[in-house]
Symmetry: C2
Subunit: 213 residues, 2 copies
């Protein structure tokens, strides 16, 4: 079997180092490159071509979804494996659409990682059983409607400020808008996210990667 080169893209250095060491012990793994965010990965992908990239979804600077899209533009044949947390459930469809064909939870074991790499390398898709379970348990969270009604940039911006505890008035001042405009954005946010109030909004923001704590 031809050896497989791999890119590990994750913002936690320890995680990268550990995974790299685990993979380096496999005889069918060739080069292993690291990047600490999507931007760094994209910037160096041409220089370091790989068969497989393992992408964390939540990362600073450029997240896994954007990175996946760009990677497929640069190297259409690249295979992408998403490394997700439980909390990333709402991103799965975006990742599929961006070209990922492997899905691993970060708390899956190394056996699964190896299987994912081999499967994906052979043009099969791999999804860890926990993720599948998760999707089946929360079908409403993974349907396309919620996916298509994603938040606009402005809405995401305002959502963040709401989560920081600013009132509509304060947000309006900060963004130089009318308070009524912010009122409306907030109302749309509640509707889009199926939230009843501010508390629900904060939880939504957290679960959907808009807010990092």
């Amino acid at each position: 079997m031809k050896k497989i080169s791999v890119y590990i893209v994750d913002d936690h250095s320890l995680f990268r180092e550990g995974l790299k060491l685990l993979l380096s012990n496999l005889d069918y793994i060739d080069q292993i490159y690291e990047a600490e965010n999507g931007q760094q990965f994209i910037d160096n992908l041409a220089k370091n071509p790989v068969e497989i990239a393992m992408l964390d979804i939540e990362m600073p600077v450029m997240n896994g979804i954007q990175a996946a899209r760009r990677a497929k533009e640069i190297a259409p044949d690249i295979k992408l494996i998403a490394l997700s947390m439980y909390s990333d459930e709402n991103y799965y469809l975006s990742m599929i659409e961006a070209g990922a064909c492997g899905f691993l939870l970060k708390n899956s074991n190394f056996q699964e990682v190896k299987k994912a790499i081999v499967d994906v390398y052979h043009d099969k898709s791999y999804i860890s059983i926990e993720i599948l379970n998760n999707i089946l348990k929360h079908p409403q969270k993974n349907n396309f409607s919620s996916f298509y009604e994603s938040l606009t940039d402005r809405e995401a911006e305002i959502l963040l400020l709401i989560c920081k505890g600013l009132t509509n008035n304060e947000i309006a001042n900060q963004l130089v808008l009318s308070k009524r405009t912010v009122d409306k954005h907030r109302e749309n946010l509640l509707q889009k996210t199926q939230s009843k109030n501010t508390a629900n909004l904060v939880i939504y923001a957290l679960k959907n990667g808009y807010l990092k704590i």
Copy 2:
């Protein structure tokens, strides 16, 4: 030098496996045990005594702070290293109070991990420079006042319901209380947690382990 046994307590299996492999290559490391949450760690600590435990702060079932307290009860001489994310800044004091004397960010490199283990083993404390920076940048978030005014059981109960998005009226109905009582509890919560509003309360609940998502 006597060899050092280490417990790795983290809910991400891949992270554990990677760190374990990294550590196992060091000649001064003896046994390496793993647990995927605080409960599992505490349950097996007597069976697997170690010099050093590396504790993730945010974990399901039992978090790092509770685990640290219990561990010190079971094995007063154990040395504890907190493995934190950027987001755990509000936990530092709790972790110090719980007995941790090492602080590592998960995106620190393996060099730092090694130094932390050696330092902590020799009764020195170790704190990664990024964490120190972070504390110095946000001194108000790390003061003792908030730490000493911990919440009562009732307050914690009501905090949870607030986070779930219930209104004071709904909470009053659910707990068979007057709405005015819930009003008062909420007011006290805001004061104790130094929060301005519901959004701040939810964030507080998350950062302080009252709420798990």
